[in-house]
């Protein structure tokens, strides 16, 4: 099995010397053209309407709204790696080709393959509209060079839309006749890759300059290779290939750009960027941990009994003060073992570190090791054993995090510890707001419901959990959707609009679940009841996930029936057996992939492939696609299911201690093919973060 080595960030950083002092933002400081200064109208690194070769800062998420002459582009971009950028756009074009307003989704990608040198420019290759209906279909190769630290020049060659102004015979024609003419798109439903079109047909040149006039002001001028053939006339009258614009930086994150484009009209663009790797309070604003108490300072009795009730009485209050729930305890010679439930700390090492300090203040001097087990739904996941000496020695050591990790032993959790009396039954509840967006309906592309959600959980015995949620809408317009499904498949998702007509309370979830450990490295779950807003039934799952492995495997089998539109207790007639075999793989500490193969809700068979970048603070940005035996024609618009996933830890945003996260899946089009059941507490997500392969990445929070 592959074991993820614990990387020493210290040595690397020590050599790089003080990486921290200059966290500085802003383009004013001299940078190479590898780092783009802004986003273009498509929401990818660029000038005004044309791209540049640079990338944005690694991990940046950029949001842009651009409007010009009857066209609007709302986009989100992600700098996947330092060189690879991707963007998604939702666009409207009025009087498209003389017809109605066009609503279009498109996806673009850019890769910087050459870094700027003293003489050579940075260079990148990109494809706009990889999978959409082809409105923005265009490809390019672009070069950008810094002339002075504040002046950059860009030139490139474009194909497709970007080869439509002043086009000439494709120079790639020497490679084959295929490149000489741009073929037709295939597939009527859009949403499929059209590689046979890429870099084909006439090519044209574009160029531009940008000048960072002041810290806040950037001036741009460009010669566009886009003739706007489809829009020229009905949408706007294009008179010139020259565009000019000025961008003004409002803050470190936000900017506004105004331009005069194609000799016709003014354009306005708003940009907002944020980076999961930065925030205003990196170490958090939450309470200080209790200090380590060296053995000499412990007032405890010289010896403790191994009675669980005695141990619970000694340890529970101190742990509770840190928001940790003691579930089990055992004194085994000189090792004090506890199992804790962490409902408070986003990073598991912070829970381990605080628990260890609580133990240091309580345990008798005869104890020299603490074994701290993290649990999920009372199932022990991993055990971190630390020496009490290390805790005392490294509390204030300059590299105390690294040393603590090097000396800690982390294993798969052993069998259950004796249950600490008073742990079960456990009842918890909370009330909070909920937001349910409904996107991309041409009648109103941005709808949402906002309401109050009440959650309650009652854990009768270890792993036996009743949980429910009641939502009450307060305000919203999801009920205005009126888009009867034209799907030829069972309407497992395309009737979603009918589920939000009610203004009364709904019960999106009401289940009983049992979690168990069938063996070493194995986790099990059985859930029954109203599993999700649209389906009820029984869901079972088994996961094999060794603690130091990059690979995990899972199997899930469900028998479900469709729920009534009122989201209460009615059931409809449609029933299906659905399930998947899943493989999860961690490429590096931040890049994950998952492959699910099996049967989907509409009874279709197929597979889902997803890739995500998971940051050590809990941020997650991912993309997935599902292809099943449903034909593109039967699937309908979009041809197959695909979407983006994003998870934002609230802790990152507020600096306060909370495990709460906001997660959402954005699907350009929701259809019935390739739809998966949405059950809570899927095991991989539940278990993974408590395993060292994941939490080694945020180990440094041990001392927070």
């Amino acid at each position: 099995m592959l074991v993820r080595p614990y990387r020493s960030r210290f040595l690397f950083l020590a050599m790089a010397s003080s990486a921290l002092a200059g966290v500085g933002f802003g383009p004013a400081c001299a940078q190479s053209a590898d780092r783009a200064w802004g986003y273009n109208s498509y929401g990818i690194p660029g000038l005004i309407d044309m791209p540049v070769a640079g990338s944005r800062e690694d991990a940046e998420l950029g949001f842009n709204v651009f409007t010009f002459a009857g066209q609007t582009r709302v986009s989100a971009a992600f700098q996947i790696t330092p060189r690879l950028s991707a963007g998604f756009r939702y666009s409207t074009i009025k009087n498209y080709m003389g017809g109605d307003t066009l609503y279009d989704r498109s996806f673009s990608i850019q890769y910087r393959f050459l870094d700027e040198g003293r003489l050579r420019p940075a260079m990148a290759i990109g494809i706009n509209d990889m999978t959409g209906t082809g409105v923005y279909s265009g490809e390019y190769v672009v070069a950008t060079k810094s002339v002075t630290p504040k002046l950059r020049a860009t030139a490139g060659i474009g194909w497709g839309r970007l080869g439509s102004n002043g086009g000439f015979d494709n120079p790639l024609g020497v490679l084959g006749d295929h490149f000489k003419t741009r073929g037709e798109r295939t597939g009527a439903q859009g949403g499929t890759f059209q590689p046979q079109q890429w870099f084909t047909g006439d090519a044209a040149l574009f160029a531009g300059v940008e000048w960072q006039a002041t810290d806040r002001l950037r001036l741009m001028a460009e010669y566009s290779s886009d003739a706007y053939t489809r829009e020229d006339g009905p949408t706007f009258d294009r008179k010139s290939p020259i565009n000019i614009a000025a961008q003004y930086k409002l803050s470190d994150n936000a900017s506004i750009t105004a331009g005069y484009l194609y000799g016709t009209d003014l354009s306005v663009q708003l940009s907002y960027a944020l980076n999961p790797k930065h925030n205003a309070h990196p170490s958090g604003l939450n309470d200080a941990p209790p200090p380590v108490v060296p053995r000499a300072g412990v007032k405890a009795a010289q010896s403790w009994t191994n009675d669980p009730a005695y141990l619970a009485a000694k340890l529970r209050p101190g742990l509770a003060q840190q928001g940790l729930v003691l579930e089990g305890a055992k004194l085994n010679g000189s090792t004090l073992a506890i199992q804790i439930r962490n409902d408070r700390y986003n990073a598991p090492p912070e829970a381990i570190g605080r628990a260890a300090r609580v133990l240091s203040a309580q345990a008798p001097a005869s104890v020299d090791r603490f074994a701290i087990t993290l649990s999920e739904n009372s199932q022990p996941v991993s055990t971190t054993t630390i020496r009490r000496d290390d805790l005392e020695a490294y509390e204030f050591h300059p590299v105390g995090g690294e040393l603590m990790r090097a000396h800690a032993q982390i294993d798969g959790a052993p069998a259950h510890l004796p249950v600490a009396p008073g742990t079960y039954p456990r009842f918890s509840w909370n009330v909070g707001p909920y937001l349910r967006p409904g996107l991309f309906d041409p009648d109103d592309p941005m709808r949402a419901d906002l309401g109050v959600s009440v959650n309650a959980q009652y854990e009768i015995a270890p792993g036996l959990l009743l949980s429910g949620r009641v939502n009450q809408k307060v305000i919203g317009n999801l009920n205005q959707a009126n888009r009867p499904s034209d799907s030829v498949l069972p309407h497992v998702r395309s009737d979603a609009w009918l589920y939000y007509k009610n203004s009364g309370p709904t019960v999106p979830e009401l289940t009983g679940a049992y979690f168990f450990r069938p063996g070493r490295d194995l986790f099990g779950r059985v859930t029954a009841g109203y599993l999700e807003p649209m389906f009820a039934g029984v869901s079972t799952e088994l996961l094999w996930a060794p603690e130091h492995s990059r690979l995990a495997l899972g199997a899930e089998l469900n028998r479900v029936r469709q729920r009534g539109y009122d989201q209460r207790f009615d059931l409809r007639d449609y029933e299906v057996t659905t399930g998947h075999l899943s493989a999860y793989y961690q490429f590096t500490d931040q890049f994950y992939t998952q492959l699910d193969v099996g049967r989907y809700l509409a009874g279709d068979w197929g597979a889902t492939l997803s890739f995500s970048r998971v940051f050590d603070n809990g941020w997650k940005v991912g993309v997935y696609a599902t292809k099943t035996d449903v034909s593109s024609a039967d699937f309908g618009e979009g041809s197959f299911d695909k979407g983006f996933m994003i998870t934002i830890p609230l802790h990152w945003a507020t600096g306060q201690t909370t495990k709460q996260r906001y997660s959402t899946v954005i699907q350009p089009i929701v259809r019935d093919g390739g739809a998966r059941l949405g059950v809570s507490n899927r095991l991989y997500g539940m278990v993974r973060e408590d395993q060292p392969a994941s939490f080694d990445g945020n180990w440094e929070r041990f001392w927070r």
Binding site: R9, F10, L13, A14, S17, S18, A19, L20, A21, G22, V23, G24, P276, K277, H278, N279, A280, H281, P282, S283, G284, L285, N286, D287, A288, P289, P290, P291, V292, V293, P294, G297, A347, E392, E395, F396, H397, P398, V399, G400, G401, E402, F615, D616, N617, W619, W652, G655, G697, N698, E700, R701, W703, R704
Partner: protein, 215 residues
Amino acid sequence: MRSLVFGAALLALGGCAQLENLSNTVTLSGSRSAGQGAAAPTATAQGEGVGVKVVTQTAPARGLEVVIPSRDANAILSLAGRNGTVETWRTDDDITVSVDRGVVVATRGLGDDLMAADSGPTLAALRGTKIGAYRRTYRFLTADNHSDYVLLGCEMTTAGNETLAGQNLLRHEEKCSNPKMTVTNIYWTNKKGRIQAGRQWVSPTVGQIAIGVLN
């Protein structure tokens, strides 16, 4: 009773003239806070005054006075724990400052905390057992939970006697720098060589804080 004006005095930063005016109720004003704001690439605030209000409080018998100009905050912290020679002091709202014989080695709860720093080289330099340049290491957390280190090359000089809050103390200046930043920490020691007060850099966003030992 030992006064509470240590911190304020410290932040007067070399404004020796002002020290004489100190009493239990004092408002110091000046041009700029030391180490205020982010990025402090050159936090050499030496010789500048500060705008820190010191409110009279009843002093406990023992405590650590802390002034954080970048937060416009000051408080008297009480002892929360001791590990070897390091004492951890805590505010009522659960912010802690850990100090090793007068050298700040950690903070918690400030948003951009000093996770740990070494004190040994500084203490050795103050004792005079270390002569010439030495290195200091500071550890921080990044927003994605990794460690970030700042290494500084330092040199200690003695800057003469000063009267601080009625005590005759010896002022030492520790000038530390790397290619990206420069900072001057100040330590005031008593006749026994113990640090009674100091003005020390703790992190890029918090900047410098002042501490005064009340005993």
